[in-house]
Amino acid sequence: MLDLGKYAGAVMSSWGVTILLLVLLGVITWRQSVNARARLKAAEDRRKARNG
């Protein structure tokens, strides 16, 4: 494994924070997308059902 010397903490935590934030952003984006798809599908189905 890579030896980061005395800056190990700084390097690891800044990379960690960035990756964590990006992963969070990805998860939120994904969940919102899935959610919106489902709700829209339900609404479109209701509309089709109404219009026969």
Binding site: L2, V11, S14, V17, T18, T29, S33
Partner: protein
Amino acid sequence: MTNAQRTKQADDRWNWLWEWANPVKFMALSGKVLPFAAAIAALTLVPGVIWGFFFTPEADKFGSSVKIIYVHVPTAMMAINIWVMMLVASLIWIVRRHQVSALAAKAAALIGMVMTLAALFTGAIWGEPMWGTYWAWDPRLTSFLILFLFYLGYMALWGAIENPDTAADLTAVLCIVGSVFALLSRYAVNFWNQGLHQGASLSLDKQENVSDVYWFPLVLTLVGFVALFVLLLLIRTRTEVRLRRLHALETRERMIDA
């Protein structure tokens, strides 16, 4: 040529572009582009990040902490550029009333805010070993904090207004006025305090041949972050288009039930 004809011709020349602002067409096209965007993001980001983290040497002044540059600089640049993109999208919405444009601005805001936060955190963490403090009221740091506040206000305004067209108009106005004041703040902050932060003149690429060692992976990660932004932006804009359609359907349902 009369003025009207001239505008007409200009319209024709750009029609191919504006047509994609139609929500249906946008959904079709973006659906096709999405896999490619994902591929490009993966192909640049993954090698860039691995190269930057594992295969770069220590620098004189920075030691191994120089590796932070691969998360700090891309996030910092994206944070600014995403705001500029939102400004352009807002202007397009105000001038040409293309719905997708407004929704894209809305979709970009969260990405921009996360980038700003990441730049702030990584910078602060880097500052501790370099300057001996997590935070100093350095102009560049300070203007980033202000940028964060602008993102916060912009998103809060979107969240507070129910009618999507009203929200699009008001946030666009806020974005435009806010940009002017953000720029003013940048100068004000510069005037107010001299800084510790690296100037662009010190940027690593301009120094001897060692710097290439840092420069190439940095460029790769930069491209990777841009691709990642495009990918996330497409997904999020598609979500916003869906939500907007959902809003239209639900309003309609309410009219039926009433």
